[in-house]
Symmetry: C2
Subunit: 452 residues, 2 copies
């Protein structure tokens, strides 16, 4: 049974790509994350490929630890890069259709700033802004924001929920027809169509109104990555898009069905949420060529960088022969479950240290092969009802976005799985999502109906 | 004695202009502050006029109070507008030379965010970013950020000083030659050229490093508005540009000499700081025409909006005949000094209520006349040593920036007072300011010299 409709696609553009060795790839500009042209090229290419959106993950600090000593200086991964909320407005001027989504943390921001900035991005871009809501989990980030440790999970989620509530409230302060612009009569806005928020909660007190209004999308698109029980529930209640993990078609289908089933109790239709697992693609004219491209990337992984990836689970292995067996973990070292999982993988595969970290570095959901192979994989997931589309995580940039647009996009189009032109003017329209109703305008409409 | 060199010019682009009735002017797009094209036109026009920079003042809330009742809805002034830190990156793409300066509050932000965003803007724009450091004084803003009242003056300044210290420290974390980009050897950066900040102060704890680096200006330009004793001292120590008040040539010269004299004790040359008073210009072919343009703008001031401007000093006068005399203030009403100052003005001028608020609404340093008249005024200030240039505050937009560039810029150029082409590639170069030295690179240089 072939599924109706088209898949949605996002291009995750962080840094030089998602493989830790990307910066050493011969075609990758290793200083690209500090050059605007790098981002501009990738964004324009993604728009040429009719992607629904580009997306920036973000960290407000260097999350990676320098263990074993010296590994950080050899990693070149998520070290220095442009701040995405500053970058996206610039990219909006160079593009016309593609959505512009970035992460912003509810733990280390204030809702008034976030509401203003995303509202402004929505105005500048003509309705293409999206906010990926995260709570920030790392100590490295906490330490840049006056804390020794990051907030506990429950506190972070509680704060996040209130944060989002405040931001949505601020976005609604001005009804869509609030502005009279009546020069003759001297009336700028209708008093009864501006509403103070007067929020007084546990984490925030915000009076409002927001001093921006008139967003083309009503409000920006809300994106989440809800894997936990709590995260699934929040996604079902509020998200427009979910960036999901991808393990197997079966696991993703189960996740997909679960989250969509939760939506009914919030009065939402399943189509009002798009679930997009992350996929890494390496394409070439033949399977062997594609595999060779991937292998070359894997081989570029510096041993110290590889060892840093197993440090948390196994401790410092830099004193061991990396082409020898994985030693039994020192007892005092680590989080037990991670250690056990990694050791199981090493024992089951009879792996050397190098083989182990290479597997981990090259982990995630990869599709490697010809354009037809990759389209087959994507089609299988899509038609199985395991997703509404994909968030593409290019292993290295700009090569993987260029290749996707040149080879994979046409193949998806040929199969009727992907658009041949943008359907709408806004990200919301391209995603096929309804315009949200301003809460006050809705109340007014209900009142006047009741009065009839 | 004619002064050598050229004056510096900034164009302050907030909203629809600096006159509260600007939005009612027939040539002003009253919805302009929500349309990107409005800002884009003004920025491009200012660059055509070779301005050193555009500047956005900013408020994080609606500062004006709705008193007398209904006045806010009739004001159209600083109500809704784009968030400037989101707007400037977009404008940077449409311009090549002009500096991009915006306000950001040290009271309601975190230094890590501010350091990142301005560093990113500097990268995107090729070295044109500037930060106007303010502490935010209004209750309206406090109430959007979890507070009932704004911070006390001393606390705000103490926090601001530490905030700026942290931001500058973050900007220095990576030495300019920190990045090796050595693909062959696998070294991304030189470990000894990245420095944690490890700041632990009264208001902030920030570990660093910043995850952005390589700013073309070394660091963005720092702007302040230091009028108080404390403000003058901070400006003398740290500012690159001061936006100053303008009362009279004499008062401004005294201020100028005072601030510049304070710089020596910080090891700074007077030329390392540019002092730019604000000036409002209305130009036309004849003096009478220019005056008529100004008068027309004044007449567009809505009575309620005018009364709002005297509310803090005199209370609610909306029950009185506005063409009658200004009544004696009710005793319980207001801050005594402001009341006395306003009443003195009313009595001395024998003013009606309407005449009083019209004077106040049209206050500030105006130059009204032909291009020659206005150039005369600017030249007088500049040659008297009362300023290094001006921050132009256009009463309405886009008219006043268009007129400035068309009529006043050529007149200043003809007199040899203003550039005929941009001198440099960065804002720093155009302002004639030195490249700051990274603190760690400077230390390294000092060490290696000592070791010789």
């Amino acid at each position: 049974m072939a599924r109706q409709g088209m898949m949605k696609l996002g291009m995750s553009m962080r840094g030089l790509g998602y493989h830790p060795a990307a910066w050493r790839h011969p075609d990758v500009p290793s200083d690209g994350t500090l050059r605007f042209e790098h981002y501009a090229h990738n964004a324009k290419m993604a728009e040429q490929g009719l992607f629904d959106m580009i997306f920036f993950a973000d960290g407000i600090g260097l999350r990676e630890r320098d263990e074993p000593r010296g590994s950080l200086a050899r990693s070149g991964y998520e070290l220095v890069e442009m701040e995405p909320m500053t970058l996206l407005p610039a990219l909006s001027v160079l593009t016309k259709h593609i959505g512009l989504v970035t992460t912003a943390s509810t733990t280390y921001n204030e809702p008034y700033h976030i509401a203003r900035k995303f509202a402004t991005l929505d105005l500048i871009s003509g309705g293409r802004a999206g906010w990926n809501i995260v709570t920030s989990w790392s100590e490295a980030e906490a330490k840049n924001f006056n804390r020794e440790e990051h907030l506990e999970y429950d506190t972070r989620y509680e704060r996040a929920a209130e944060f989002v509530e405040v931001v949505k409230g601020l976005w609604d302060c001005w009804e869509p027809d609030a502005f009279a612009y009546d020069k003759e009569g001297g009336l700028f806005y209708h008093e009864d169509r501006m509403h103070l928020l007067n929020h007084k909660g546990k984490h925030f007190q915000v009076r409002g109104p927001l001093n921006v209004a008139g967003m083309p999308q009503g409000r920006p698109i809300l994106v989440q990555a809800g894997a936990s029980e709590q995260g699934r529930e929040i996604a079902a209640e509020t998200a427009d898009v979910v960036y999901a993990a991808a393990d197997s078609v079966q696991a993703s289908k189960a996740y997909y069905d679960d989250v969509k089933a939760r939506m009914a109790k919030y009065g939402r239709d399943p189509d009002e949420l798009k679930i997009m697992p992350g996929v890494r693609t390496i394409v070439a004219a033949t399977r062997a060529e594609a595999q060779a491209k991937f292998d070359r990337l894997q081989e570029l992984t510096d041993p110290l960088v590889g060892l840093a990836r197993v440090y948390a689970a196994l401790g410092d292995l830099s004193g061991f022969d990396i082409d020898g067996p994985v030693p039994e973990p020192q007892r005092e070292a680590q989080v037990r479950s991670a250690t056990e999982r990694v050791m199981k993988r090493a024992r089951d595969g009879n792996l050397t240290i190098r083989q182990l970290y290479t597997q981990i570095v090259g982990g995630g959901f990869y599709l490697i092969g010809t354009a037809a192979d990759i389209a087959d994989g994507m089609q299988e997931w899509y038609e199985a009802g395991a997703c509404d589309g994909f968030n593409v995580l290019p292993p290295y940039l700009p090569g993987c976005v260029d290749d996707f647009v040149q080879y994979i996009t046409p193949e998806l189009q040929r199969r009727g799985l992907f658009r041949k032109a943008y359907e709408g003017a806004t990200l919301r329209e391209n995603l096929g999502l309804k315009m949200p109703r301003n809460r006050w305008a809705a109340e007014r409409a209900a009142h006047s109906k009741a009065a009839e």
